[in-house]
Amino acid sequence: MLTDTIIRYVKKVYTNFATHVYDVPPRMLALLILIIIANLPFMGIPTHRLGIFTTANLIAILAVSWDLLVGRTGQISLGHALFYGVGAYATALLYKYLHWPWWTTIPLSIIAGVGVALIIGIPCLRFKGPYLALVTMAFPLAVVGFFYYYRDIFRGETGLSVKPIFAPPIVSYSQKPIANYYLSLALLTISSIIIYKVATSKTGIVFVSILDDELGSKACGINTTKYKLLSFAISGLFGSLAGAFAAHLTGSANPRYFIEKTALIPTEYSLIPIIATILGGIGTIYGPIVGTYLYYTLNNYVFEYVITGIDKPTRILFFMAIIIFLIVKWPRGIARTIVEKLEDLQEPREVEEILKEKAKSEETS
């Protein structure tokens, strides 16, 4: 009885709302999420814990770029950490050996990321389906071996240290996490808007056509090679952007950006964006962001503050089990399911009604 009333009320509110703002769900949801995320520092989270959400923002960029490549173009990549690591190492090497400031090294590392994306994109054009997934998974693992082999240049396990962007002369020590957080949030907003624009543009439609039917789009005269490479390049651009800023915000670039080998905690940067995207909903732009936040809140807050008193392995065990459960329960993603449910709630309207409304609005104007 009560639930019925609530559902009816929500339905009423939503239909009223939806009739007034055209194309509501994605945009309003995005705005709502942005408002909530932007207020996080004032929601009682201690400043020293904000670092988690700074990482979450950067990983969300990676996840969104992964979504463009996989969810939109259909090129399954399991080694997206390659771009993240290349971005981080490029900026760190330039800082370490040439002492350049961050605003010159980051653009250069983005160029490096795009270059790497093109270099691995060209051989990857030949692979399809599971082969592509397995080969892309191999790239970061193959690269990281050289980082250990040439220990003198890359400093092996410890990695290279990088000068943080926000150091005491610019921002006081206690304000540093907040500054980092807002910088990463700004980056996330800008990147996701750009990727959204790309995905909804003509190019984005071509990407989706490659996902749906590669042969068909070829038959329509689309140069699929060019568009696949373009997708790789855009994806590499944002991946390396996230990596470069991650190096500057955390202060180091180490092999863990590529892969965590003997880790107790699977902080694998190839894996987290994918888990996040699957959780949120693949092939959407808002999905990966929602998924990343869900992942980090679950991993760091729920299991550290809400459910306390269990050791780390048990925590990870339950966490991963929950993720498997969520994936099995909602294979299409949580955020997408919610958005689709909301769209279903919207009552179908008669054509006459819409015409009446239009006439009314014309009269008033």
């Binding site: 389906g129 997934a133 693992l141 071996g145 994918i274 065990l317 994936i327």
Partner: protein
């Protein structure tokens, strides 16, 4: 030098081929990339190690020499049951969602990793040495080879032959072959896909655990809870080299990988840190020449 590379390459390659066999079998029959295989590689090795310590208490003294055999059989059976059950609970619901299956199975690997970590304690989780099947060394064409390793290679070869016979001679085997050739036609002929997929998942987990046992008993550091990554890396390198879904291909892929690894380790000084990267470099280079592997098809039996 060359003899040493060839002999040890064949032996290592056969073990690698067995590790990859289960992976290729699942892809060939049910068409999914089941990365849980890496977890069963480790679970099998741990179960074997535990059973090796406990079985002598349960069986009469004069049967003590059969302990490794019992341990191998029981760990294969247990892993097979776990693998089959896990497949039915999760992956079977996701059939058709490629990326979701990949991620769910990687998450499952991490779950098994943590279960082992909790069950074994942090001491044994990082390194759990397993005694070799047979001790001592033998000489094969001027090369010293550990007897345990040679026996492991023999076991691997035998299991390939048994599997080949099983698939070509028995009813279930032929049903599996039919499924891999044409799913819908096989269903029309009365093959129960659900049961057969479950059986295949169990079989592949069992074979994976045998691979894990052989691998862990031939290396000095034994097994560790995070080694699912290694098992996965080895098996997918072999499989991609030989062609996904081809049993013949996994033998060739394993041998190629074995030769390359032995050659690099013996020729380049200080290549120890590169050991984990070699499979990936090999696979990238090889795929540039043949993008679908050597025998890239759905399953094929000789």
């Amino acid at each position: 030098m060359l003899e040493a590379i060839i002999i040890s390459g064949i032996i290592t390659g056969l073990i690698y081929a067995l590790i990859a066999l289960g992976f290729t079998l699942v892809y060939g029959i049910s068409g999914i990339v089941n990365l849980t295989h890496g977890a069963f590689f480790v679970v099998g090795a741990y179960l074997y190690g535990i059973l090796l310590n406990h079985i002598p208490k349960l069986i009469p003294q004069d049967l003590a020499y059969l302990t490794p055999t019992f341990a191998i059989v029981f760990s294969i059976l247990l892993t097979g049951i776990i693998g089959s059950a896990f497949y039915r609970i999760t992956l079977h619901q996701l059939l058709g969602e490629e990326v979701s299956i990949l991620i769910a199975s990687i998450c499952a690997c991490i779950v098994f990793h943590q279960i082992i970590f909790i069950a074994m304690g942090s001491l044994y989780a990082f390194s759990f040495t397993i005694s070799p099947l047979v001790r001592g060394t033998i000489m094969i064409i001027n090369t010293d080879v550990l007897t345990g390793k040679a026996v492991a290679a023999l076991i691997s070869l035998t299991s390939f032959i048994i599997l080949g016979l099983y698939i070509s001679r028995t009813k279930t085997g032929r049903a599996m072959k039919a499924l891999s050739q044409d799913l819908e036609a096989a269903m029309l002929m009365g093959v129960s896909t659900e049961k057969l997929f479950m059986f295949t998942a169990g079989l592949s987990a069992g074979i994976g655990s045998l691979g894990g046992i052989l691998y862990a008993s031939t290396v000095t550091y034994g097994t560790a809870s995070h080694m699912w990554m290694l098992g996965l890396a080895l098996s997918f390198t072999v499989v991609v080299l030989g062609g996904l879904g081809s049993i013949k291909g996994s033998i060739f892929g394993g041998l190629i990988l074995g030769f390359t690894q032995e050659a690099v380790m013996r020729i380049i000084p200080g290549a120890g840190v590169l050991q984990d990267s070699i499979p990936f470099i090999v696979v990238i280079l090889a795929l540039l020449i043949r993008p679908k592997g050597l025998f890239g098809k759905r399953i094929e039996m000789e």
